[in-house]
Amino acid sequence: MMYWSELAWLIPIIPLISFVVVGFLGNKAFKRIENGGYFAILMAAVACFLSLMVAFEILTGGYPGGTFIQSMNWMTVPGFTFNMGIYIDTLTALMLIVVSFISTLVVIYSVGYMHEEGEKKRRYYAEISLFICAMLGLVLSSNFLQMFIFWEIVGLCSYLLIGFWNTKPSAASAAKKAFLVTRIGDIMFMLGLFIFFVWFQGNLDFSYIFNNVDAFLGGNDLLTLGTFFIFGGAIGKSAQFPLHDWLPDAMEGPTTVSALIHAATMVKAGVYLVARTYPVMVETPNTMLIIAIIGGITALMAATMALNNPNIKRVLAYSTISQLGYMFLALGTGGYLFFHTQETNAGFMSGMFHLMNHAFFKALLFLSAGAVIHAVHTEDMRLMGGLSKKLKITSLVMLIGCISIAGIPPLSGFWSKDEILAVVFETGAENPLFYVLYIMGILTAFMTAFYMFRLWYMTFAGEPRDHHVYDHAHESPKVMWVPLAILAALAFGSGFALFFGFSEAIQPTMFHPHAETWTQILEIVFTDVLTYLSIIAAVLGIFLAYLMYRKRSINPDVFVATPARRKIYGLLLARYGFTAAYDWIGLKVVYGVAKAVDWFDRKVIDGIVNGFAIVTIKVGNIVRRGQTGFVQSYAALVVAGVSIIVILLFLFGGVI
């Protein structure tokens, strides 16, 4: 019998074909089809179709054993085996759906959004195809090394796409920052890989490692270190504190790219990595604790930074960081709890659930923002306002996205966020620190609701602030708003997956998940006081935003009313000084050392080398002057030579 999964290896290959064909075949061939756009869509769609089939097969248990594994030898060195292959379990399936589906929509949307870019579009479609390929490859990887390979290619693609408008210095700079900062995480990832590679007897296959966690020979401390380093990779890629600062800058890329990065690829890779490593991670509670703490801090900090930012895309970027923080919080908490109780908990599930939901509503939000930008040609919300009249569809779908992210039931964001907060609170029983994290989570929820609605109100509600901008605004073409509509539907409804066995399907086997009916779930959710707490926080946030930006009963200027407040306001705008710190490290410390090394190299090391040469030549010239040209001085030297030899012989006798 033939399984769809056996075709899974094609999934990353198909966009790769698109990359090669579009990227290297020249402009002429693609002039007619949006410079390759339609081809890219076709390929993405095929990949998406395959992904959906495979995912469906795996999620429904269509494949015997539940996990599809395929592997081939990539390279062998005595003691180490490098394999390449396919590993599909339910987690992979989930990611396949998210990635391929959103990517396809983004590519479709791009046809409208990037229409005016001319020949550069070809590069765009090629790169975005590669991006999709890399992310799908990452998801399908059968071992850590392969994952790392695609991980890096994802980084490369983000670099290329963020720097798509590379003639803009700020874009080039942002791309550089994205690449370099995530690379720091990658290095940690690599370290983790080394630890795994060496102490798992030279085998990095998931199937081997997950089934033989006990085979780790390095002891638990080292395992903790290993998992921590692996998580380090996620810190970089998923823009977690303290490596989060590249993400806001990455908004220099086209909005579609931002959507892709934030919703489907790149930043989700980090979460996926931690989820993928879960069977090992749960053995190391300390790592889990760190993950949870970093997740919590990130969630809160990013949310604060989003509060006052005037740039529509940046706000969304901060919100992504913040939501990613939630995901890590969930994963970390779940693992920590599991280690201590050895019982199933919702941490892992809620994290991944949030990942999926977030993928949909963040894609929706970004693409909507893209539509707005497309319409008004600015990203500054202070120039917008009242656009809901002109951009009816956009304003509507965006509103859905905002509600969803704010966590208002029954939209998707609510379900996952609620699960996360619940499990964090539950873990507080094990470690009081989690209560703190819970409070941070609630605060974040409040802020999220606030800044999202601030964004919506500033953009769509009220009176237009800049009539020039307003007058030129127009609704997006169909090719753009149709994907938006699809995403809106999903953002609205993806949360209901919870009622259709999402939980059981997605949990790792070691959790021994048990099925719950949808009534049970609803009962659990809505009998808990905490649920209402989070809803209240969200509603409060929305209400505050309404008061300030819609009704204007509170003047937003209160935040800058006093010097202290202005300072805080500025601090938030300056991203807590992280940007400056990065620059300082880069320009002052690293570049300073580099300058010093260069100086040392030229003056000291090369100086010594050249010094030898100079001294030799100088000595030569001095000795040369001894050759006076007077023969009697030569004779004198002969006599002196003889005398010295005689004296030496007499002094030292037979020894000299």
Binding site: N73, W74, M75, T76, V77, P78, G79, F80, F82, L145, F148, I149, F150, W151, E152, I153, L156, Y159, G163, N166, T167, K168, P169, A171, A172, S173, A175, K176, F179, L180, R183, I184, D186, I187, M190, L191, L193, F194, I195, F197, V198, G586, V590, Y591, V593, A594, K595, V597, D598, D601, I605, D606, V609
Partner: protein, 498 residues
């Protein structure tokens, strides 16, 4: 297929004849070009034939393949002994390939074309000889033969201060080789009595080197090692390299970095490790420190450069440090990865120097601050540069990653978490490349140079680059093609170590 046919000699003779004929072409530049291309092409074909007939299944520890041995000066035990194992096989192929591509890339050299092409072929002879020689004396001769064409290439076709750079290169590396020679002779004199007959044969000497007194071994080792690390070059004996590279013509830089540096690391593997396993084990940490120092120091130095080519030159130091680090692990993985890195660096650095040369050629400068925003003007060149940089900074999917990852894995395996130090330089590497790219091809179009007449790559530039990039990607995606050649030869190198 070639059991009794002296194919390795043929490999050396063909470029030699080609070189003579090319020199003889004199003023007929066009003839010289085609002659050089044809002969280097034949060399490449022969090298390819050899590699295709290279037996991968030969049992571990078997002798060298395509072995040829004739007496030369039997009185002193000097013989003409050639042979290849997996390590040298790879280097032979790389040499033949790079020379061929470099000749093609130099298609537009107008000044003294025949000499230029002839010297390239002569260089080919020397390098191929170094990688196939199994006799110390022969090895040394080829080693030195390499210097002369390179000296001329730099001195005649080089940049403004070529006189300084060429003589510095010449003398610096000559000093090192002389010390190596000293070591070779000391080895010869101590090993010959142990063998009962004078011999310069690498394999025979290695079989008795363990019986040499420890102190003497140490001295010999130091002399040889010094000779090799200057060639590689490792910090602090590296300062000839940036000068030589900056001044050398593009093809010269390609061969200098692509092949000549490999001679050093090849020597360490083939001679130091193979012949003196005990000392190598003792010096292991020191070797690793030198390697790491070069990696980090080179990376920092790169960051401070404003000349694109100088930056790439320093990056060579950094990347050759990775080779040394791999060797220092003395594990199968590390050693194999070191060889892989030699190969990878050969391919990558060729691309990098070619792009630098094209910038010089087309934009008239390599100074990064003067460049900027050229990507739309020269899309092919920019793309190639980007791929080259990415390969060099160890992007997976390209050949450099496999090597670096393996080396660092082996380093972790052996030196534990000290691997953090060299691996941190990976970020630095990314930093200087990305930063250089940001300033040279991205951003707004420069006004400091005339950008009106910049022409993108010509066909003879595109073809070699395309070939190289194709190989970089091919071996990056499927490294087994290379690794399977290397791996069987490693245990033999390491027999004494384990």
């Amino acid at each position: 297929m070639f059991e009794n046919f002296p194919i390795l000699s043929l490999l050396l003779i063909v470029p030699l004849i080609g070189s003579m004929m090319t020199f003889a072409a004199g003023k007929h530049a066009k003839a010289a070009r085609y002659l050089a291309l044809v002969f280097s092409g034949i060399t490449l074909v022969i090298a390819t034939l050899i590699i295709m007939n290279f037996s991968l299944s030969a049992p571990l520890g078997t002798e060298f393949q395509f072995d040829e041995a004739y007496d030369w000066v039997p009185m002193l035990g000097i013989s003409y002994h050639l042979g290849v194992d997996g390590i040298s096989m790879l280097m032979v192929f790389l040499s033949a390939l790079l020379v061929f591509l470099a000749i093609l890339f130099s298609w537009d050299v107008e000044e003294r074309t025949s000499s230029y092409m002839g010297l390239m072929l002569l260089l080919d002879v020397g390098v191929l000889g170094v990688f196939t020689a199994l006799d110390y004396f022969l090895f040394y001769i080829f080693w030195e033969v390499v210097l002369i064409p390179m000296y001329f290439l730099i001195a005649i076709w080089g940049g403004p201060s070529r006189a300084y750079a060429s003589i510095k290169f010449f003398i610096y590396t000559h000093v090192a080789s002389l010390f190596m020679l000293l070591g070779i002779f000391a080895l010869y004199f101590t090993a010959s009595p142990l063998l009962g007959a004078p011999s310069f044969d690498m394999i025979e000497i290695a079989s008795v080197s363990g019986d040499i007194g420890h102190a003497l071994q140490l001295i010999i080792y130091a002399a040889l090692f010094f000779g090799f690390i200057v060639k590689m070059p490792m910090v602090p004996f590296h300062t000839w390299l940036p000068d030589a590279h900056v001044q050398a013509p593009t093809a010269g830089s390609v061969l200098l970095a692509g092949l000549l540096l490999k001679m050093g690391s090849y020597g360490i593997i083939r001679i130091c490790v193979f012949t003196f396993p005990d000392i190598t084990v003792e010096a292991q940490v020191l070797i690793a420190i030198i390697g790491v120092l070069s990696i980090v120091y080179g990376a920092f130095a790169c960051l401070a450069q404003t000349d694109l080519k100088k930056m790439v030159a320093y990056s060579s130091i950094s990347h050759m440090g990775i080779v040394l680090l791999g060797i220092a692990t003395l594990t199968d993985l590390g050693m194999a990865a070191a060889v892989f890195q030699m190969f990878a660096h050969g391919l990558i650095t060729a691309v990098l120097f070619m792009t630098c040369g094209m910038f010089q050629h087309k934009a008239g400068t390599r100074e990064i601050p003067l460049l900027g925003g050229l990507a739309p003007k020269v899309p092919v060149l920019s793309t190639v540069m980007m791929i080259g940089f990415m390969a060099s900074l160890g992007l997976p999917g390209l050949v450099g990653f496999v090597a670096e990852f393996s080396v660092f894995t082996a380093t972790y395996d052996f030196f534990d978490l000290w691997v953090i130090v060299p691996i941190a330089s990976v970020a630095l590497t990314a930093a200087y490349y990305i930063w250089a790219m940001q300033r040279s091809i991205f951003g707004s179009l420069t006004t400091k140079i005339d950008t009106e007449h910049i022409h993108d790559a010509y066909w003879f530039e595109t073809v070699p680059l395309a070939v190289l990039i194709g190989l970089i990607a091919l071996f990056g995606i499927y490294p087994r093609l290379v690794m399977d050649i290397i791996v069987p030869s490693i245990p033999r190198i390491l027999t004494g170590v384990i």
